[in-house]
């Protein structure tokens, strides 16, 4: 992912990835740091990772996007190259109030990459275009799960 997080957050995610690769779990001190940096989104994002809610979707021509199944059962679309999520929290807490770095879905996307918990799905180029647009019918993409 090319999107930029503050250096401390980038470093933390790297450490989580390293720790997970070596021990298959994330130590408590890193979990505490995660909560310190990302606030209440951290626990919610870890829940999403535990539930394997993050799916990376790719098309034959190599375009990719993420979908995250939210705790409410709704699917949210997150872009791979920059911070954007279709959830209301992203619009409110990240864009409008500036009191969160990212929403829990984008953080779950990062953590899924770090822990290898991300699911993969191939779709057609046309389907991927529809998901990028996050059209209303995306909720009907039951094949993602």
């Amino acid at each position: 992912m090319e999107a930029t997080l503050p250096a401390v957050a980038e470093e933390l995610l790297k450490e989580i990835k390293k720790a997970f690769q070596e021990t298959s779990h994330v130590p408590d001190d890193l979990l505490l740091a995660l909560k310190f940096v990302f606030g209440s989104s951290a626990v919610a994002a870890l829940d999403l990772v535990d539930q394997h809610s993050v799916t990376r979707i790719v098309s034959p021509r190599g375009r990719a996007v993420y979908q995250v199944l939210g705790s409410s059962g709704k699917l949210y679309t997150c872009y791979t190259s920059c911070h954007f999520c279709t959830c209301p929290a992203f619009a409110f807490s990240v864009l409008r109030k500036h009191d969160s770095l990212v929403c829990k879905h984008i953080l779950a996307m990062y953590l899924s990459q770090a822990t290898g918990a991300c699911q993969e799905l191939s779709v057609s180029d046309q389907q991927l275009a529809s998901i990028l647009l996050a059209e209303e019918k995306e909720e009907g993409l039951g094949t993602v799960r």
């Binding site: 190599g62 920059c82 992203f90 864009l95 275009a129 529809s130």
Partner: protein, 249 residues
């Protein structure tokens, strides 16, 4: 900053890694001319705008560079909805990845955005599309460009609601080039050689700002010369002989 935009302004030498760049300025400040000049100066470019340009801002009246034009593909999505659809499906429709993605008239699309999330979606989809093209260029062993640069232009007037989206756009466009009327030149304190003078100031995180002077002659031609801070200016010596007519919406 975008290396393509830097090239269009006549700066030499390698700069920092290209970042998405937003060109901001009032009406008739040369935004389209700068974008078009960037397109002419590089490899393959995709130029998006709400409607066709009435005349080419990269050439003098009656003149054009056919070879340069052949490297530019023009597409005119007329509405926000059409633009979003186009960006989301370019991986299907374009035969090869461009090295430069240009969007002229962003303010016209933002006018159709109902709120900040819609503006963010448009900016994010532009960045995502350029990022996808970068990946494709990297996969092409014969590719001549290392990445696809993104430059968008937006008219600012200080009054419109569209500008409320500016802080959101700055999340996705870390580099900004502001075009402002050169008040000193406008007062006739300098020999401008034309009827309109603008300053172009490029800012991006982690790099020193750079500034250029844009002059528009009576026939609409644009000339560019760097503003050298802290040193005596010699616009004549540094003046770019390449010209671009200042056709501007």
């Amino acid at each position: 900053m975008s290396a393509a935009l830097q090239g269009a302004l006549g700066a030499a030498g390698p700069g920092p890694a290209p970042t998405p760049t937003l060109v901001l300025g009032p009406a008739r400040s040369g935004r389209s001319a700068l974008l078009f000049r960037a397109a002419l100066g590089g490899p393959r470019a995709l130029f998006l705008a709400p409607r066709a340009l009435q005349r080419l801002p990269g050439a003098r009246r009656g003149e054009s560079d056919p070879r340069g034009l052949q490297r530019i593909q023009f597409l005119y999505p007329p509405s926000l909805r059409e633009l979003l659809r186009l960006l989301a499906s370019l991986h299907q429709s374009l035969p090869g990845p461009p090295a430069l993605l240009l969007l002229d008239g962003l303010e016209q699309y933002l006018a159709g955005c109902p709120g900040p999330q819609a503006a963010a979606r448009l900016a994010a989809l532009l960045v995502d599309t350029a990022s996808y093209f970068t990946g494709r260029l990297g996969a092409d062993p014969q590719g001549s460009a290392p990445c696809c640069q993104l430059i968008a232009s937006m008219r600012v007037s200080g009054e419109t609601e569209v500008e409320d989206h500016l802080c959101i756009l700055q999340r996705y466009f870390p580099a900004q080039c502001w075009l402002c009327l050169d008040s000193a030149a406008a007062l006739g304190q300098e020999d401008c050689g034309g009827d309109r003078m603008f300053r172009a100031r490029l800012s991006q995180p982690g790099a020193a700002d750079q500034e250029w002077r844009l002059g528009f002659g009576l026939d609409g031609e644009m000339s560019v010369s760097p503003v050298l801070w802290g040193r005596a200016e010699d616009p004549g010596a540094a003046s770019d002989t390449d010209r671009a007519a200042g056709a501007e919406k």
